[in-house]
């Protein structure tokens, strides 16, 4: 009886440890473990992906965040017309992430030349920072910028594992 109990607990614990293990092992090596784990666990592909696959999931998240931010920027033109110049710059920067950085990173990682993927991912963080800087401390996008910077850092760490 006691043996059965022990076996069940044993199995539960080992299942807990081994199932999230690849994601957790990978995320340990990134600057934001919790963010990394939550992003990867939120994608159904996460549990069976290899390192390239995990990187591609995160790049998808970058793409999603970029689209979300572009929508936010578009909405701000009406609400905050005085910010037009900064919003124009941000629009340009985020479009670069969507049209240049993301496709570059996806192609590079899929094809096994991860260094170009690293370039794209780093640049996503740079473009977000530059956009933020255009508001000279009074940005309506700070939360979205921080998210992009964090995701970019985490993704970069994972892409570097492929080098």
């Amino acid at each position: 009886m006691m043996m059965m109990m022990m076996m069940k607990v044993m199995m539960m614990v080992t299942v807990m440890v081994s199932e999230g293990s690849i994601i957790e092992q990978t995320c340990k090596e990134t600057p934001d473990f919790n963010l990394c784990v939550s992003l990867l666990n939120s994608d159904p592909r996460g549990s069976s992906a290899d390192t390239s696959g995990l990187a591609l999931i995160l790049i998808d998240k970058i793409k999603g965040l970029t689209t979300k931010t572009l929508n936010e920027i578009n909405g701000l033109y009406k609400k905050r017309p005085e910010l037009k110049r900064a919003l124009d710059e941000c629009s340009r920067r985020y479009k670069t992430i969507l049209n240049a950085d993301v496709p570059e990173a996806i192609e590079a990682i899929s094809k096994g030349v991860p260094k170009f993927g690293e370039d794209g991912v780093i640049d996503a963080g740079v473009e977000a920072s530059v956009c933020e800087g255009g508001f000279k401390g009074k940005s309506p996008l700070t939360s979205l910028t921080k998210s992009m910077q964090k995701i970019s850092n985490v993704t970069r760490a994972i892409v570097r594992m492929l080098l």
Binding site: M3, M6, M7, M10, V13, T14, V17, S18, S21, I22, E24, Q25, T26, K28, E29, T30, D32, F33, N34, V37, D50, T51, S52, G53, E89, C90, R92, R93, T96, A100, D101, P103, E104, E107, A108, S110, K111, G112, V113, F116, G120, I122, D123, G125, V126, E127, A128, S129, V130, C131, E132, G133, G134, G137, T145, Q149, S152, R160, M161, L163
Partner: protein
């Protein structure tokens, strides 16, 4: 002939990960006495709980405590990356006060170079298959026909009579076969005994496997080599057992072995060890792989764009890739995927078993302190033997250091370095020496000669008129009394740790430096790129000289990378300090001591452009007075343009 099974990846990423996974998963249960079962279970339960604790505990330490910058640094160390390559992330991503620089088209269009090779638009990277044939130098390159970022790669093509005046030709090879459907990547040319050309290149197949393919000119009588045919039996090489499907690329030019077979090498990695595989062939269609490697170095990561060639120990001419013998040393060069640095090492090649041993294992290929062709922005380089003039010529890909948004806006990204001759340094006997090809002198227009003596803490404008396209050759001498005082002063400690990066750039003043030129500067020096020498006391009371390029104040813009580059340069007894600088809009190439140490920098000034660009000479030393004797040439454009029938009559400029 490769079978389809052989194309399946033999090691998956999963395997690589499981090697590093901790082996804490308990073994399957077996029949054993109850007491032992109990003991085993309790023990395993404890281990499992312990592991669960470790995993979550590590997670939480990562999250709390560390500042953004520190955690980026420590993660960098975990990922095996040097702090320098993490520069852009820690400097920009965490600094939310970075202002968007208002780049306008005037500023961006100024950045385009006048006499460096670059396509009319879009992205370029690695040089491919350079060769000389029927009176023309051919240059192929990795090119994206659709965007100003990497992707959709094809082989671009250009020709020149003199390695300087290039003519654009149509695309040479596109991904039109299953074995290169996902990319026509880097490769090299070999001349066969009958003078015909074979090209080996890497293809990324429709299943994303990296394979080697054979191609050759469709019409050998066409001096422009416009059309290329791919061998019907491609691929000729697929990743061998034990090598990852995506770790097998960039085949070299072949060389003849003493048995008459051809031999090539291809870079790869096994775990974190960088390696170079070696194959023999008689027809370039079937190959025998050696069981041993040409060379390997632990902890260097993937070796891309491997290059292997002989240099003469005594002569200044180049050698055909197949040359071997007692008067010869062999160079292995590799591009380090991890750090984006090209390293080379000089050593001895053993033809009988296809192995190579470095002269100095402590600076073996890929080790961080190993020699580099260039201490700035310079990657994926490749040499070829120029049988026209008996030279070995080096090409290097110079990427951008700006944001991709700027590249997209200006419509292009990347240039090639000016081709350089490469020879063994017969005086130091430890390194190579590179120098821009002589043909570049054909671009020199008017010049001004100067002799100036500048005291400590001086900056002097050098009046040359326009200062965006220049060739500067200079000689420096530190006044003997100052040298003697410094040299004999025992209180001055030997500065073992001094380097360009850690020295604080050109504003950090020492007794004997820094001194040199500030290029691409504006009148008020709010933007400037100093290229300079810094002399310190080295080990055993000898003088030590470093040669640096400081881009940290090259622009007011904050969305570009602005490193300080440089390295130690050997200066032998009796030698003056000499420097050559090529300035061409957004690229600056510096050469110290005749090319013993070279630095390429990319800079993006916002004010020091067009007519506002100035040149200065400076001496920031505290104690020394410096004499500078130099000449500055205005450089013409190379007028690189698409080939037309008018160009057939272009005379050679040399």
């Amino acid at each position: 002939m490769a079978s389809n099974e052989a194309l399946l990846p033999v090691t998956s990423r999963q395997d690589l990960l499981s090697e590093s996974k901790s082996d804490q998963i308990p073994e399957t249960r077996r029949r054993r006495p109850i007491k032992v079962h109990l003991a085993v279970y309790s023990g395993l339960l404890l281990i499992a709980l312990y592991v669960a604790l470790i995993v979550t505990h590590d997670g939480s330490t990562v999250q709390h405590g560390a500042k953004d910058e520190t955690s980026t640094e420590s993660r960098a160390r975990l990922a095996g990356v040097s702090e320098k390559s993490n520069d852009r992330v820690s400097r920009l991503s965490d600094d939310r006060k970075v202002e968007a620089f208002p780049w306008n088209n005037t500023m961006l269009s100024w950045q385009r170079t006048a006499f460096h090779f670059q396509p009319e638009k879009n992205w370029m990277n690695d040089p491919n298959g350079p060769l000389f044939y029927k009176g023309w130098y051919h240059f192929f390159y990795q090119y994206n026909p659709n965007a100003a970022v990497w992707g959709d790669i094809v082989w671009g093509h250009a020709v020149s009579k003199d390695l300087i005046h290039w003519l654009y030709l149509p695309i040479a090879m596109v991904p039109d076969q299953w074995y290169d459907a996902n990319g026509v990547w880097t490769g090299s040319a070999t001349f066969l005994d009958d003078g015909s050309i074979v090209m080996l290149y890497t293809g990324s197949t429709d299943k994303f496997v990296q394979v080697q393919n054979l191609a050759y000119p469709e019409d050998p009588s066409d001096p422009l080599l416009l059309k290329w045919a791919k061998f019907s039996g491609n691929p000729v090489l697929v990743p061998p057992p034990g090598i990852g499907a995506k770790d097998f690329r960039d085949p070299t030019t072949a060389w003849k072995t003493s048995t008459g077979k051809w031999r090539i090498t291809i870079g790869s990695k096994i775990n974190r060890t960088g390696i170079s595989l070696i194959y023999d062939t008689t027809d370039f269609k079937t190959y025998e792989k050696h069981d041993t490697l040409l060379h390997q170095v632990p902890n260097t990561g993937m070796w891309e764009c491997v290059d292997f060639y002989p240099v003469s120990k005594t002569q200044v001419n180049g050698l055909d890739t197949s040359v071997n013998g007692p008067g010869v040393k062999h160079v292995i060069k590799a591009s380090m995927d991890d750090t984006r640095i090209d390293h080379y090492a000089i050593g001895t090649y053993y033809d009988s078993n296809g192995t190579w041993v470095p002269d100095n294992p402590s600076i073996d290929v890929g080790i961080s302190t190993a020699l580099r062709y260039d201490y700035g922005k310079f990657y994926a380089s490749k040499t070829f033997y120029d049988q026209n003039k008996g030279r070995r010529i080096l090409w290097g890909w110079i990427g951008e250091s700006d944001s991709e948004a700027a590249d997209v806006q200006k419509g292009w990204s990347s240039v090639q370095g000016i081709p350089r001759t490469v020879v063994f340094d017969t005086r130091t006997r430890k390194n190579l020496v590179q120098w821009p090809v002589e043909e570049i002198k054909s671009l020199r227009l008017s010049s001004n000669k100067f002799d100036m003596t500048i005291g400590p803490g001086t900056v002097v404008p050098v009046d040359v008129g326009s200062a965006t396209q220049l060739d500067i050759e200079a000689e420096f001498e530190i006044k003997t009394e100052d040298l003697k005082l410094f040299f004999d002063d025992d209180s001055v400690e030997a500065d073992k740790k001094f380097s360009c990066e850690t020295s604080g750039g050109s504003t950090a003043r020492g007794a004997l430096g820094p001194f040199g030129f500030s290029v691409l500067a504006d009148e008020s020096l709010s933007e400037q790129t100093p290229v300079y020498f810094y002399v310190t006391k080295g080990k055993h009371s000898k003088l030590k000289t470093v040669f640096c390029s400081d881009t940290s104040r090259s622009t007011l813009a904050n969305d570009v990378v602005k490193p300080i580059y440089g390295s130690f340069v050997p200066v032998l007894k009796g030698e003056k300090l000499t420097m050559r600088i090529l300035v061409d809009h957004s690229i600056v190439e510096g050469f110290a001591q005749g090319g013993r140490t070279c630095i390429t920098s990319r800079v993006y000034p916002t004010k020091a452009i067009y007519g506002a660009t100035k040149l200065f000479l400076f001496n920031n030393a505290i104690d020394a007075t410096v004499t500078a004797s130099f000449r500055v040439w205005q450089m013409n454009s190379a007028f690189i343009h698409p080939y037309s029938s008018d160009d057939l009559g272009v005379p050679s400029r040399t």
